[in-house]
């Protein structure tokens, strides 16, 4: 059963590598925040799985809980910060705030 | 009354996170959760329109299984769309707006989260009583606001 959980953890790491492509090459900054959020959720799961492999779940579960809270706060803070930047779209001004003619 | 609810929830968290049951740790828990509930109970449960928190909580727990079923449906929908070889012919995104009748803040928060978790729709923003929703296909856009609003009105505003 331990080898099965090791395989699960490796699969989760591969999926995180695939998501990292979106976090690096995302066209806008919001795409990168989204990729980081998905990676953080997977990391929370991965911490619990690591605890299960080492038979010390009672220790790793607190770290996982703190990581989930931190991931949520990072997402909220980063999206609140980038909300003020009106020209994230690389092709110029966007959809809700059209370009002013000047 | 809401001081007592806040105290009970905080003390439950204390027991869950400490995991020790001797007299010293329980006394520390009583003191600290009492202080926290004395200072910030009105932040935790600020909802002056609602009168009975307990029956609202029970009805919300009865609402959850239906929501879980909707989450399963929406995940299957997203899986189908993501693995479909001709995905761009299946989707047709639009942004729709609609007006809701829910009054209290907590009901609107629950409605926004429920819309996000049901198939094909995501809440973009809520301005007073107008919801901006991004729908991934015309069929999902036509089904808004659905039966969720009636269910939530029954949960939060019928006492």
């Amino acid at each position: 059963m331990d080898s099965f959980f090791i395989g699960t953890g490796v699969a989760l790491c591969l999926l995180m590598l695939l998501t990292l492509h979106r976090a690096i090459h995302g066209p806008t900054a919001i795409d990168r925040i989204m990729g980081v959020n998905v990676i953080g959720t997977k990391t929370t799961i991965l911490l619990v799985i690591i605890g299960t492999i080492y038979h010390r779940v009672d220790m790793f579960i607190d770290i996982a809980l703190a990581y989930a809270l931190l991931n949520f706060i990072v997402t909220i803070a980063a999206s609140r910060y980038f909300q003020q930047h009106k020209n994230l779209n690389p092709k110029g001004y966007g959809y809700r705030f059209p370009a002013e003619d000047d | 009354m809401r001081y007592i609810y806040t105290f009970l929830i905080m003390f439950g968290f204390w027991i869950l996170l400490s995991g020790k049951f001797d007299l010293f740790h329980l006394t520390l828990g009583v003191i600290s959760s009492g202080l926290v509930s004395l200072i910030s109970a009105d932040l935790f449960m600020y909802d002056p329109q609602s009168r009975n928190h307990l029956t609202t909580g029970v009805r919300f727990l009865l609402y959850l299984p239906w929501l879980l079923f909707q989450i399963v449906l929406s995940t299957l929908h997203v899986t189908f769309l993501a693995l479909h070889p001709k995905m761009k012919e299946q989707i047709d995104p639009t942004i729709v707006t609609f007006k809701t009748n829910l009054k209290t803040d907590i009901a609107k928060v629950a409605l926004a989260n429920s819309i996000t978790l049901t198939p094909g729709t995501i809440t973009i923003r809520v301005e007073d009583q107008v919801f901006y929703v991004h729908a991934i296909s015309r069929k999902a856009a036509a089904g808004l606001p659905g039966e969720m609003e009636e269910r939530l009105a029954k949960v939060f505003e019928s006492d």
Binding site: M34, V48, I61, F72, Q83 | L81, T116
Partner: protein, 109 residues
């Protein structure tokens, strides 16, 4: 009991895989948010349920505490994931990212 755990974990891994593929394939930011917000929630809940079942093999106080903490993480993800999705997509809408449309000449409200 192990069979149930293996089945639940494989289902959750399939949903994670579909989420990742959707995150890479969808044409615009809003559709990608659909994949990220929904697939992650259910697959996290399923895989945490599998871990609860695996860790709860014998009933005593320590195992009960561990199971309750894993369920606490599940409840937190269940509440936080739609909220984070909502915050990100609101930031994108406010900063003016244009949605992908099948017919570009048609103007949406």
């Amino acid at each position: 009991m192990d069979i149930v755990v293996i089945v639940l974990t494989v289902i959750a891994l399939l949903f994670f895989f579909a989420t990742t593929v959707g995150l890479l394939r969808f044409p615009d930011f809003y559709s990608r948010m659909h994949a990220a917000g929904k697939g992650d929630t259910l697959s996290s809940l399923v895989i945490l349920l599998a871990l609860v079942l695996y860790n709860f093999h014998e009933i005593n106080l320590a195992n009960l505490l561990v199971a309750m903490k894993i369920l606490l993480i599940a409840v937190f993800i269940f509440m936080a994931s739609p909220t984070a999705t909502h915050a990100i997509i609101d930031a994108g809408y406010e900063s003016g990212i244009k949605p992908w449309a099948k017919n570009p000449e048609e103007e949406s409200p």
